[in-house]
């Protein structure tokens, strides 16, 4: 292993500190889910499925729907994930996403409300980590945003009868669907601290060399909605400030590129799902 792996802005694979590895994205692979996406970031492979079910809204937010994240670290990704080994990592990714989306400037969940304080759509976002090649948080968050973009929820007709009862009817038209506006859905940007400099998109080897990282949730407008620190090491306050600046800049570019590509994918006529074997 090299000492000072990112000295003079040159990492072991030739990237600069702010360079991401090439990613590959596909949405709509899981036909029975409301929305799905698969993201490959070099050797990191993540599959996300979104399922919509009707349930009760949170008491503190009666006029909004809910998002529930659950992460499953497959034993295929790493031998450490066998049995219950992956639970700690899964829990931390899920809680990081929950915090990122909890901000009011993130995803607007009000369109998901059916009957205020009584019924709303709950979107269960299930994340499956198939292969671990470093930078899990970023890959997971981009795949989640793509899956939410892809998600289609049936539109419901709500009518209130005279007795105060509310009737909810599912329309006969299968193409009457509700789509979420994921413009403000945040993407996570992981900044790894190596020798008092921050690098983005670390590989597994780089992650092993570092003692601390900062996971920031950034929206398309460059707004930071959540910050989590991981690892045993410590950050100097000036490093944190410059890291957040870097994260905001990178996050805005990441969000913008992701949205652009999702829109391009939507425009493709007769798109064939390549899936895992294509």
């Amino acid at each position: 292993m090299l000492q000072n792996p990112s000295w003079e802005d040159h990492r072991t694979d030739g990237r600069r500190r702010r360079d991401y590895r090439p990613m590959e994205l596909e949405t709509g692979l899981v036909t029975h889910a409301a929305g799905s996406a698969r993201l490959r970031l070099a050797t990191t492979d993540v599959l996300v499925g979104v399922k919509a079910e009707v349930g009760e809204p949170l008491p503190e937010r009666p006029r909004a729907g809910r998002l529930q994240f659950s992460v499953d670290c497959s034993a295929n990704a790493s031998p450490e994930f066998e049995g219950r080994g992956g639970e700690a990592l899964a829990g931390s990714i899920a809680s990081c996403l929950t915090r990122a989306y909890a901000s009011p400037s993130a995803l607007d969940l009000r369109p998901l409300s059916i009957v205020p304080a009584r019924q709303c759509w709950i979107l269960y976002v299930d994340i499956l980590i198939l292969e671990c090649g470093g930078n899990l948080y970023d890959a997971v968050s981009c795949a989640v945003k793509a899956a939410l973009f892809n998600a289609r929820v049936p539109e419901l007709d709500v009518s209130s009868a005279d007795s105060g009862r509310v009737d909810v009817e599912l329309s006969d038209d299968p193409f009457k669907l509700l789509r979420l506006d994921v413009e403000n859905a945040p993407c996570l940007v992981t900044l790894l601290l190596v020798d008092s400099e921050c690098i983005v998109d670390p590989t597994q080897e780089e992650e092993a060399c570092s003692k601390a990282s900062l996971v920031t949730a950034v929206t398309a407008g460059g707004l930071v909605t959540a910050v989590t620190k991981a690892g045993r090491g410590s950050f100097h306050p000036t490093t944190v400030a410059s890291a957040l600046e870097m994260a905001a800049e990178l996050g805005a570019v990441l969000n913008r590129t992701l949205t652009e590509q999702l829109q391009v994918e939507e425009q493709i006529e007769d798109r064939q799902i390549r899936g895992f074997l294509g």
Binding site: G14, R21, E24
Partner: protein, 294 residues
């Protein structure tokens, strides 16, 4: 600055490479229904049929049918040069990870003492083992012996083997590294490459020394900062090796050097893109084919 996100739908379909008579099978595929063949590695009998249990090519030698897997754990042979990472320090030996089915063992009696002393190892040496090699250290060694359970016994009884200091380790499938006379190559671009038979490859800057950089017995680590031009060469080599491995090309000094030369028109970080990797591998393959034809 930009982020490169591409769509799976826009990925070019790779042409099916015509592979002649070789038959590629996946686990569960029937290799043959003829009962007259002997069952080799990678197959099992399912009723009358011989079925493949691994993904790979069918190899037939007279009446013996076996399936040679594409990706398999490293099977060591005596005399192989390997690169391993020390996993554990035990009594009188170190456990080393060489990407084989079992961890390899490096006996205390099979290492050179610092300074090149040749003497019997004492109790003090046993207690001082951690000062020689610790968990996490990378070493280059040679396979001395194979135990009855299949695990390898390594030795570093030469000045060219020992602890590796500053460089980059790349892991590729072990069957891509050819068995050759020499595994230590000083490439003209200024880097030294050690091609471990187990698939672990070590790239570092060529050490400039009076002994020609042949080896210091392996305990002295040079921890000075490696200058930028050398680091650029090392990372370019790393990406070239991964490009060749991604196209299943054999790795040896000539192929790596040709790939390095073919990659000079790209920036080192652009070599991470799949299409660039395929192009570099393709150019290398063409150049090697041209040479072979002469």
């Amino acid at each position: 600055m930009e982020v490169d996100i591409r769509l799976a739908a826009e990925r070019l379909r790779q042409e099916e490479a015509t592979r002649g008579a070789a038959q590629l099978v996946t686990p569960g595929d029937t290799v043959t229904g003829d009962g007259g063949f002997m069952r080799g590695h990678g197959t099992y009998k399912d009723g009358e049929n011989l079925v493949a249990s691994v993904a790979g090519f069918v190899r037939r030698i007279n009446r013996l049918i076996s399936v040679q897997p594409l990706k398999a754990r490293y099977n060591g042979e005596i005399g192989d040069v390997v690169i391993g990472r020390v996993i554990e320090v035990q009594q009188k030996r170190w456990k080393v990870d060489t990407c084989s089915r079992l961890h390899s063992l490096l006996m205390l009696s099979s290492v050179n003492l610092p300074g090149g002393e040749q003497r019997r190892k004492t109790q003090e040496d046993e207690l001082a083992m951690r000062s020689y090699l610790e968990e996490g250290d990378l070493i280059s060694a040679e396979v001395q012996n194979i135990f009855s359970d299949g695990s390898l016994s390594l030795h570093t009884r030469s000045l060219k083997y020992g602890k590796l200091s500053q460089g980059v380790m790349v892991a590729v499938p072990s069957n891509l590294v050819l068995r050759r006379k020499n595994h230590f190559h000083d490439l003209p671009c200024g880097a030294t490459v050690i091609l471990g038979n187990n698939g672990y490859i070590w790239i570092c800057a060529t050490a400039v020394g009076e002994d020609g950089g042949a080896g210091t017995g392996g305990y002295v680590q040079n921890l000075e900062r490696v200058p930028l031009p050398e680091r650029e060469v090392i990372s370019r080599l790393r990406n070239c090796i991964l490009a060749l491995a991604g196209s299943w090309m054999m790795l040896y000094d000539t192929s790596i050097l040709y790939a390095f030369e073919a990659s000079s028109k790209f920036q080192a970080r652009d070599l991470l893109k799949p299409e660039v990797m395929a192009e570099v591998a393709d150019l290398t393959r063409k150049r090697l084919d041209l040479e072979a034809a002469e």
